[in-house]
Each structure stands twice: as structure tokens, then as C-alpha cells.
């Protein structure tokens, strides 16, 4: 029996149980003249439905997680022994063949007859396993339903039990965020550790040469020192720096004008327009950078006799800056609006002009918030992927020249991981090491930003 069918069946069964439970509760309510029901009738139905559905769905999930690897191991047992394979890597390759064969993505005639036999054996066992699962799950569901339907009586505290289940579900959902973080850290860290077993961390962090393509050849792995991340990091900071040079003044001045000078109507018209800039997908900015801005800068450079690379860091940084303008401006806008009016009034009362008030009173008061928003913007720029993938270079040059091509951490992650690769080569693992670096840097920036905002916020009133 296929999985969707089984799940549908279980769900149908538990809806039926819900209906039966409700009916029984209503009947009890009518019969019992002396004592009232503890809960409203439909709670009994829900409880019955839960008792029917939850245990059997749990059985399905556990079975599926456990059965697949077990079946594969059983099917491959004979094969590995017959082929005399002992190393786990080769065994994994065979398992992959088996999987592809079963999924139908590999032509059968290219396959080793041994594997073919294993696949047949596997399919046969899976059929039995599926059948057994269906039997077990459905009987669990029926047992749960019967057990509860029999227990329904006026004193059953159905509401409390249902609420307890719901609360557990809510709690699980909220802890998912923590599990995502743990998942990110673990997945990136585990692969990075495998990478650092082959390339030393000091070579990675302080090496000046980044050329992962070389490392495909076995004789160069690790020893050539071609995994030095410095050029990549320099490129990242160069492009992010250019972006911040564009975004901070423009974003900050826009925020100041919008919150201090602009009238309500101007503000209502311009703010959504700026927000459009924030809502444009990054791949669109990438297209704009690669096909409009970069050629324009190149032509401009050629006109004044400056050699500009066609994938210059300037083009990518410029467009990234445009993307970040609304980010800086809306965050700074909030911060500036949070400065109490009394400070402004006091300053005006002393005879200061508006710009003097802004420069000498409001900005100092809002400084921690502005610094925080700039740090968040930097973390955004460092983690931005599509603009640089499309407009920045692939090769890692150690350069501070904005007219030359530079590469970034995110570009390298994408180039290393897109396409089919062997998953154990340091080349693909390097992407995870870069990902770890990216995660740590952006996390640190966020934490610092929140800390700065919290610590140096001026408390008014």
C-alpha cells in the first residue's frame, strides 16, 4: 500500500472516530440527567480522533525512518561480501547504484547483475515491509479509537487532555527554530571538520592563494595550500565596502529627510517607492548589474582611459549598495523617529536651525541605533549572493582595486557546489568551510548590532 493512501486512510479513520466520539458524547449528555459532561461534547470527539490518528501516524513515521536503511543493509549484505568490498566509501557507491536503480534513474542494462539481484531482493522486501506497516498502522488506529470510544463517560476530562496535546504541538513548533539553528551549525560544522582534516585551518584562514579547481588532482590535495581564504575574504569586504559607501550616506540622508523635513504626503508617497527597491528580488539586481551597470562602467572607464574589468567589483558593489539603501533608510528612520520630540523642542528653543538640531542633537541621540542598523546592513551585504554570483568574478585575485574583478565567499560557495560533484573532495567540503565562516561572521555582526543597540540606547522618560 502506498504511503499517501495509507496516510489518507488513517486520516479518514480518525475523522470517523471524531464523528463517533461526538455522537457518543451527545448521547451521554442527553442520557445523564444527574451529572453534566465534564467538557463540551466535541472535545470528546477530538480526543477520540487524536487517539486514533496520532499513534498510528507515529508508527508510520518511525517505520519509514527505520525500515529504509535496514532493508538496504539487508539487500547489500550479500553484495558487499561477494565483491570483497570492505571500505565504507565503496559500499556507499554501491548503495547509490542500488538507489538509482530502484528509483528508475539508471538504465538496467548498465548494471552489475549482483546489484540487480540486490535491487530485486530489496523491492521484494519493501513490498512485504509496506504491507506489514499498513497492517500495523491501521490496527493501531483501530485499537486507539476503540480504547477511547469505550472510555467516553461524563467524568472523562476530555478538554484538559486535548489542550495538553495541542500545547505539546505548539511547544514543538516553537522549538523548531532552535533545531534549525542547531541543524545549520551541525551540518556546516561537520562538513567543515572533514574539510579541516584535509586542509589545515591556518592554511585556510591565512593562506593567500585560493584556487580550489587545482585540488581535484590527488597529488595536490592539501599540500599545495590552494585553499587560502584571504583573497576571497578581501574580495568580500571590498564589494561590501563599496556597497556601504553607496548605501550608508544615501540611506541615512533619505531617512533624515523623510523623518525630519518631509511632509506627511511626501512621506506617504516616497516611502513605499523606496520599499519597492527592497522588494525587488536579488536575481533582478544581478541581471541589472551584469547587463547594464558593468558594461556602462567598462565603457566609462574606456572613455577616460582606465582599464576596467568586465566583472569589476565596482559594478557589483554599486548595485548591492542600491539594494541596501532601503534597508539602511527604514531602520534609521525607525531609530530617528524614536528620539523624543522634547529633545527637538529644546534645541529649537535655544535657537538652533533644523539641520543643527539634527546634526548636534538627534543624530548623537540616535547613534547607537544607526550603528546597529549599519552593522545589520553590512551583514546583509556579506551574505548577499545573487548579485555577486552574476556580476562579480569567479577567480580570486588579491586586490583592493575596485576596477578589477574580485570574488566573494558566497560566489565561491555557489561555484563549488553547483553541479554534480563527489561529496568527499576538499573542493566541495571547502564550500561548507566558507559557509561556516559566513555564518559565524554574520552571526557575530548581528549579535554585536543587537548588543550595541541595547547597551548604548539612551533611555528617555
Amino acid at each position: 500500500m502506498s504511503l499517501p493512501l495509507l496516510v489518507t486512510l488513517i486520516l479518514l479513520l480518525s475523522s470517523l472516530t471524531y464523528w463517533l466520539g461526538c455522537r457518543r458524547a451527545f448521547m451521554l449528555a442527553r442520557q445523564s440527567l444527574s451529572g453534566k459532561l465534564h467538557s463540551r461534547p466535541y472535545y470528546y470527539g477530538v480526543l477520540a480522533g487524536l487517539w486514533c490518528g496520532l499513534p498510528s501516524l507515529a508508527v508510520v513515521v518511525v517505520w519509514h525512518l527505520a525500515a529504509e536503511p535496514l532493508l538496504i543493509r539487508m539487500a547489500m549484505d550479500g553484495v558487499a561480501a561477494a565483491k570483497g568490498i570492505s571500505s565504507p566509501d565503496q559500499a556507499n557507491l554501491l548503495v547509490n547504484d542500488l538507489r538509482n536503480l530502484v528509483a528508475g534513474t539508471m538504465m538496467a542494462h548498465k548494471v552489475d547483475p549482483l546489484i540487480q539481484a540486490a535491487a530485486d531482493q530489496y523491492l521484494g522486501m519493501r513490498r512485504i515491509s509496506d504491507l506489514a506497516l499498513a497492517t500495523v498502522a491501521l490496527s493501531t488506529a483501530l485499537a486507539g479509537a476503540c480504547l477511547l470510544l469505550k472510555r467516553i463517560r461524563p467524568t472523562l476530562r476530555a478538554r484538559n487532555q486535548v489542550e495538553r496535546v495541542i500545547k505539546v504541538v505548539l511547544t514543538l513548533c516553537s522549538t523548531l527554530a532552535v533545531f534549525i539553528t542547531i541543524g545549520i551549525v551541525l551540518s556546516v560544522l561537520l562538513e567543515s571538520i572533514r574539510f579541516f582534516q584535509q586542509v589545515s585551518p591556518t592554511d585556510f584562514l591565512f593562506g593567500f592563494k585560493w584556487s580550489p579547481q587545482m585540488a581535484i588532482r590527488a597529488d595536490q590535495t592539501g599540500s599545495s595550500g590552494s585553499f587560502g581564504a584571504i583573497p576571497v575574504l578581501v574580495g568580500t569586504f571590498l564589494i561590501s565596502g563599496i556597497a556601504m559607501v553607496i548605501a550608508v550616506p544615501l540611506g541615512l540622508m533619505s531617512a533624515i529627510y523623510l523623518s525630519e523635513y518631509a511632509g506627511a504626503r511626501f512621506r506617504a508617497a516616497v516611502k513605499p517607492l523606496l520599499e519597492i527597491l527592497a522588494g525587488v528580488p536579488t536575481v533582478v539586481y544581478g541581471f541589472f548589474a551584469a547587463l547594464v551597470v558593468a558594461p556602462a562602467i567598462k565603457d566609462l572607464g574606456a572613455m577616460v582611459g582606465l582599464p576596467v574589468a568586465s566583472e569589476s567589483a565596482l559594478a557589483a558593489g554599486l548595485v548591492m549598495g542600491i539594494m541596501i539603501i532601503p534597508f539602511v533608510s527604514s531602520l534609521s528612520d525607525d531609530v530617528i523617529n524614536a528620539v523624543p520630540q522634547s529633545l527637538r523642542d529644546g534645541s529649537y528653543g535655544l535657537g538652533a536651525t533644523k539641520s543643527e538640531t539634527i546634526k548636534l542633537v538627534i543624530l548623537p541621540a540616535a547613534l547607537p541605533g544607526i550603528v546597529g542598523s549599519i552593522l545589520l546592513a553590512v551583514s546583509r551585504a556579506i551574505g548577499e549572493t545573487m548579485i555577486v554570483v552574476m556580476a562579480a568574478g569567479m577567480a580570486a585575485n588579491l586586490t583592493f582595486n575596485p576596477f578589477k574583478a574580485a570574488t566573494t565567499v558566497t560566489v565561491q560557495i555557489v561555484t563549488l557546489l553547483v553541479g554534480d560533484q563527489e561529496f568527499d573532495s576538499p573542493k566541495t567540503l571547502a564550500a561548507f568551510a566558507l559557509g561556516l565562516l559566513l555564518f559565524i561572521v554574520t552571526l557575530a555582526l548581528n549579535v554585536i548590532a543587537l548588543y550595541v543597540v541595547r547597551k548604548y540606547r539612551e533611555e528617555y522618560e
Binding site: 505548539l170 516553537s174 539553528t181 551540518s187 529627510y257 536575481v283 558566497t410 560557495i413 555557489v414 549579535v447
Partner: protein
């Protein structure tokens, strides 16, 4: 500044404070005007970038919505067809013969090949479809509009310039004169580019469309919404209404805030490591893409839902609790319905972000070249932004045009989604 001021003070000491202030006023007002001008200039610059961005895309892309067609007199020669298997006839030969009959002067091999190249290879499929639908066509000769090749389309639209030398463009001089001949005899026309909206991806620019990518986006977003909205709302309800104020709740809160700022590509790495390598889910499937985007949008939805829950005044809760509702009943019957519009707005905005997301999907292999329009959640698929990325990498001029057109479609979709969020908010938002 201060020294300067005190110097002025001494010099003008006997003139009184007012006079000193007045003397400095012009300069101060000038600074004021300059500062205000800078603010306005910053806004103007930002808006100019917006106009430039949208304008460049519109200018590059609007021509993609029209497509060049060539009128061929196709003779459905009965000899070509096998009555029992109409689909397998040599339709390319029909197209070839019809094309060559237009250019009797093309005699040698090279010329004939150049002439045949004017018509898209899609013309054969078009004929195949026509004949399988209407077998009585066999034996007849009919004028039929077929797709022109991508290069011809570009030439007609003026994207391939006549001015450059012959070997620098993809249309030879001879082909150019033929195209002019066709245009003069009324055998060339431009129509609405329906292929662009009906076809999947293709190596031939004139046959490439966004249908596959749009369907992929649809399936991916459906998965994302199905997972992220219930989970996000449940998490928000727990954190806002039930969570005890302790370290664990603080930890979750900090976690969510940090996750919201993690670069999207890191979620792609997570998806690659967990969904593909650990759980062996299919590569390139919209199911996996949806799961990755779920992880990415979850913090956004949780934060928006919490804000929405917080805006429900506590008097509602107290009133419900006061007449004997349990805490869960209070939340489910009263607080949740009142905060639902805000939560849905948050979810829609999260979906808009997910629709525009590219980087994490590159990590899980949704960048493959996929011709077939996906029909389910586990079919290999790509999404609209990734399709844009793929086409943008294609150096052919015709794909530049299609990239920009696909961007326009994507932006319109985003606009529609965001507009629905705004409408929802305006219609249902309550101020307490």
C-alpha cells in the same frame, strides 16, 4: 568652531548678542539649505536608481512579448506519412521543402543550409501537432505561419545590427536579403509571443518559455506555505500566549531573531546537507525547495505573527477568561481569529520573499536544465528566479530579451502578492 565663535564674540562684543547672532544667520541658513538639499538629493538618487532599474528591464524586455513568424506553403505530401503512425513522419522535411521553395536561388549546399536555418526547429513540432489533430490535412497544401529562428527574430527586431561586418553577426548577408524578401512579400509577421507563456525551457531561444518555471515556483511556494504558515503561527502562539518567561523562551526568541538575519545561502547549505545527503530526498524537486524556503521564511512569519498577537488587547483575553473559558479556548476562539489578518499579511509577505529567492535553491540542485513542465511536488523543477539566473548566463541576445521579460513577469507576480497583502491589511486591520 568654538574658537571661531569666541573670536567673533570678542570682535563684536559691544554690538550685543542679537547682532552677533544675526551676523551668523546667513551662513547658518545656507548650511541649513545645503543639508536639506542633500537629503532631497539622496531620495532623488535612490528613486532614480529605481527608475533606472525598472526602465532598463522594460526596455530590454518588452520586445520578448512579440515573436516573428514566417509564412510557409506547406505541402503535406502523402508519401511522407504513415497512416498508422502520424506522429513519426518526417515533419522537418516538410518544413525544409517549403522553406527551400521560397528561395529558388539557394542552390548549393551551404546556401540551402542557411535558408533552412531561418525557420525554427519548432516548426516541425507545430506541424506534427496539427496533423495528429486533423489528419485530413494530408495531401493538401496550406499556408501556415511557423516560428522563425531566434536569430531571425533578433534581426527583425533590430537587435542584430546590419551595420557590423558579416562575420561578427549571426545572420549572414545572404540571410539578411532573404529576410528582407520575406518581409517585402508579406511572409513575415510579428505576433503575440504565446510560446513564452506556454512552453518550458529550451536551448532554442524562440521555443523557450516560463511555464515550467512558473509551475515550479507554484509547487515550491505551495509546499512553503503549507509548512511555514501552520508551524509559524503555532510557534508564535506558544511564545506569545503560553511560554513561561524563562531562559528557554529567551533562547528561542534570540534564536528566531538571529535566524531572520542568517544569509539565505546558508539555508541552502543546510538543505543540501540535511534533505539531500541525510534524508535522500530527490534532487531538484520542488518539495525540497519548498522545505528549504520554509526554514528560511519561518522566522519572518513567526515575528509577524507575534506582532499581530501582541496587538490584540488584553481586555479581550481577560473578558474570555472571566466568563470561564480556558486559556486554550481564549486563544483559539478569540485571540487567534482577531490576529489572523495580521498573520496572513505576514505570511503573504514571507511568500513574496520566498518567491524571489534564488541562492538557497541553487544549492539543492534546482538549477538543472529542465524542459518538461513539472506536474508534481517530486518532479525535477526550477523556479522563476532560477530560470532568470540561467537565462542571464546565456550569451545569446534572444535570451537577454527573454530574461528581462521573465523578470517583468516575476515583478508583476510580486506586485500582485504584495498588493493583496496591503488590501488584506486595509480591509481587516483593526485599531484598538
Amino acid at each position: 568652531m568654538n574658537e571661531e565663535k569666541s573670536g567673533q564674540m570678542n570682535e563684536l562684543g559691544d554690538m550685543g548678542a542679537m547682532a552677533w547672532v544675526n551676523a551668523g544667520l546667513t551662513a547658518r541658513y545656507r548650511r541649513e539649505r545645503r543639508f536639506k538639499f542633500f537629503g532631497l538629493a539622496a531620495i532623488a538618487a535612490s528613486l532614480m536608481f529605481l527608475v533606472l532599474l525598472l526602465g532598463a528591464i522594460a526596455i530590454k524586455g518588452y520586445t520578448a512579448f512579440r515573436q516573428t513568424q514566417i509564412l510557409l506553403d506547406i505541402h503535406f505530401a502523402p508519401a511522407v506519412f504513415d497512416v498508422h503512425n502520424l506522429a513519426s513522419a518526417n515533419y522537418a522535411a516538410l518544413v525544409r521543402d517549403a522553406t527551400l521553395s521560397l528561395f529558388p536561388q539557394a542552390m548549393d549546399r551551404q546556401d540551402r543550409r542557411a535558408a533552412i536555418k531561418l525557420v525554427s526547429i519548432g516548426a516541425a513540432y507545430q506541424l506534427q501537432e496539427m496533423v495528429t489533430r486533423k489528419p485530413e490535412l494530408i495531401g493538401a497544401t496550406k499556408p501556415i505561419w511557423v516560428l522563425a529562428a531566434g536569430e531571425v527574430d533578433m534581426f527583425v527586431k533590430g537587435h542584430i545590427s546590419r551595420d557590423v561586418t558579416e562575420n561578427e553577426r549571426r545572420i549572414s548577408d545572404k540571410q539578411a536579403t532573404w529576410i528582407d524578401q520575406l518581409a517585402a512579400s508579406g511572409r513575415l509577421r510579428q505576433t503575440f509571443n504565446a510560446t513564452f507563456f506556454q512552453a518550458g525551457d529550451s536551448r532554442e531561444s524562440e521555443l523557450a518559455g516560463i511555464r515550467g518555471a512558473v509551475m515550479g515556483s507554484f509547487f515550491t511556494l505551495a509546499v512553503t506555505l503549507a509548512f511555514s504558515f501552520p508551524i509559524g503561527v503555532a510557534a508564535a502562539v506558544y511564545l506569545e500566549e503560553f511560554a513561561p518567561k524563562n531562559r528557554w523562551a529567551d533562547l528561542i526568541e534570540v534564536n528566531i531573531n538571529n535566524l531572520a538575519a542568517v544569509p539565505s545561502i546558508v539555508f541552502g547549505l543546510l538543505g543540501l546537507a540535511v534533505f539531500l545527503n541525510c534524508m535522500n530526498l530527490p534532487r531538484s524537486a520542488s518539495l525540497v525547495g519548498g522545505l528549504v524556503l520554509t526554514l528560511m521564511t519561518l522566522p519572518t512569519i513567526i515575528i509577524a505573527s507575534r506582532a499581530s498577537l501582541r496587538s490584540v488587547p488584553s481586555s479581550i483575553r481577560e473578558a474570555a477568561l472571566g466568563i470561564g473559558a480556558s486559556q486554550m479556548q481564549t486563544v483559539v476562539h478569540h485571540v487567534l481569529p482577531l490576529s489572523m489578518p495580521g498573520m496572513m499579511t505576514g505570511a503573504i509577505i514571507g511568500m513574496a520573499r520566498a518567491l524571489g529567492e534564488t541562492a538557497p535553491l541553487l544549492m539543492i540542485g534546482m538549477v538543472a536544465f529542465i524542459v518538461d513542465v513539472p506536474r508534481g511536488f517530486s518532479d525535477p523543477a526550477t523556479v522563476l528566479p532560477v530560470q532568470i539566473y540561467l537565462w542571464a548566463n546565456n550569451p545569446e541576445r534572444a535570451f537577454v530579451e527573454r530574461t528581462a521579460a521573465a523578470i517583468m513577469v516575476l515583478l508583476l507576480l510580486l506586485l500582485a502578492i504584495n498588493a493583496s497583502a496591503v488590501l488584506l491589511r486595509n480591509k481587516f486591520e483593526r485599531r484598538w
